[in-house]
Symmetry: C2
């Protein structure tokens, strides 16, 4: 009982939930009551419980109070890193190789992803990321040029499009989809694996407030692992 830090109160409440003082589905006492019990300001209790709510342990609603959630559904989070950083952080030497760069009218499947209503010219990029001179990941990217002014003058034969975009074009939202797929000929050749090998795919689409900026698929080699802490 050192001080009434919100952490210590968070932990105390956490332990009481785990111990079964407040079973799942029941309500915690109100903030005011807990504040009195722990001898601290209501603000501090509020902060402690908000922290538990962020972790998904409890659910809060005005008027009805703070309820212990039925099941512990925890969140896992990871940092979306540049592939260059992924390679360098594991002690490898990073290399980048632009395979193709074309401007073309977007295929309909891509128009849908980029949310383009009319026919527009988009940029299509295929590139290879290397670790210690071996293939690490294959990138297939479409860029909405209107949403990324200046990209046509960017030195994309040296710097990966992602790296340029992250620096120059802020985005506000995005979705990521992870999946597994068998390697087609194109990816197999680029990554130097057999056709049909199990690849790890990361699809990402990002928007500014108004418009979609880019959609990309990263194909990782079968031995790739995406590690996440809980």
């Amino acid at each position: 009982m050192t001080a009434n830090t919100y952490q210590s109160i968070r932990d105390a409440i956490y332990k009481r939930i785990v111990a079964g003082d407040w079973p799942a589905g029941t309500n915690l006492p109100g903030e005011a009551e807990l504040a009195q019990e722990y001898g601290c300001a209501r603000t501090t209790v509020n902060r402690a419980i908000q922290s538990l709510a962020r972790e998904g342990l409890v659910e809060r609603k005005r008027k009805s109070g703070t309820r212990v959630k039925e099941l512990r559904s925890r969140r896992a989070s990871f940092e979306i890193q540049l592939i260059r950083h992924q390679v360098e952080n594991t002690g490898g030497a990073y290399g980048y190789h632009l395979l193709s760069l074309t401007s073309q009218v977007s295929p309909s499947s891509i128009s849908a992803k980029l949310r383009l209503t009319d026919k527009r010219s988009v940029m299509h990029i295929e590139a290879l990321h290397l670790k210690d001179n071996s293939p690490f990941a294959f990138e297939d990217r479409w860029v909405n040029v209107q949403a990324a002014p200046g990209i046509e003058d960017a030195p994309l034969e040296r710097v990966s499009a992602n790296e340029w975009l992250v620096r120059e074009i802020p985005y506000t939202n995005g979705v990521v989809s992870l999946s597994a797929a068998a390697a087609q000929e194109r990816e197999a050749e680029a990554l130097n694996v057999n056709v049909g090998a199990a690849l790890f795919l990361l699809d990402r689409t990002t928007w500014d407030d108004q418009q979609t900026i880019t959609t990309v698929t990263i194909f990782h080699r079968p031995e790739f692992r995406l590690k996440i802490e809980i």
Copy 2:
């Protein structure tokens, strides 16, 4: 300039960072200065900037101040759901089928994952999760029985081990690893796919403070997508 909510101040600071008022690598003005500028209490500025720090946009250190991070490295997070909820949330009917349950001395590869130093009996579970009576995911789990008292009496032929564990045994930490792998005979048979099909694997190991509780691999069918918002 509606009200001085910490959200509105967060957004204002966010926009100024994106607009380039404070380029990457530079420091923001101190909290006191910003509070004066926005005409609010320092506490409110503090909360706004802490929110930006959680998102990874800035880095804070005492004495040296708040620095805009070099590269926009955003965090993505997702909720670790029960497979039952994954199925039900997509409008499917959930089913569970226990394939095998044995107690045995743990193989060395599993002992390492469970951090068991001596030879101990562990529980090995293989199970199938169904969506609309079709295979959805195959589960291969090892449980440290000492860390999960009561599991030997749990009705694991009806309730998935994960569901029982989540309810009964709290954990404090864990790691998740995502990858792709070709289906071996065992998984291919269970999931009704061809041997060699590209499966999506989710490995998870969870601990209590002291000891490892369980390690599990979930094998998903090739069409599975894990969707994450940024």
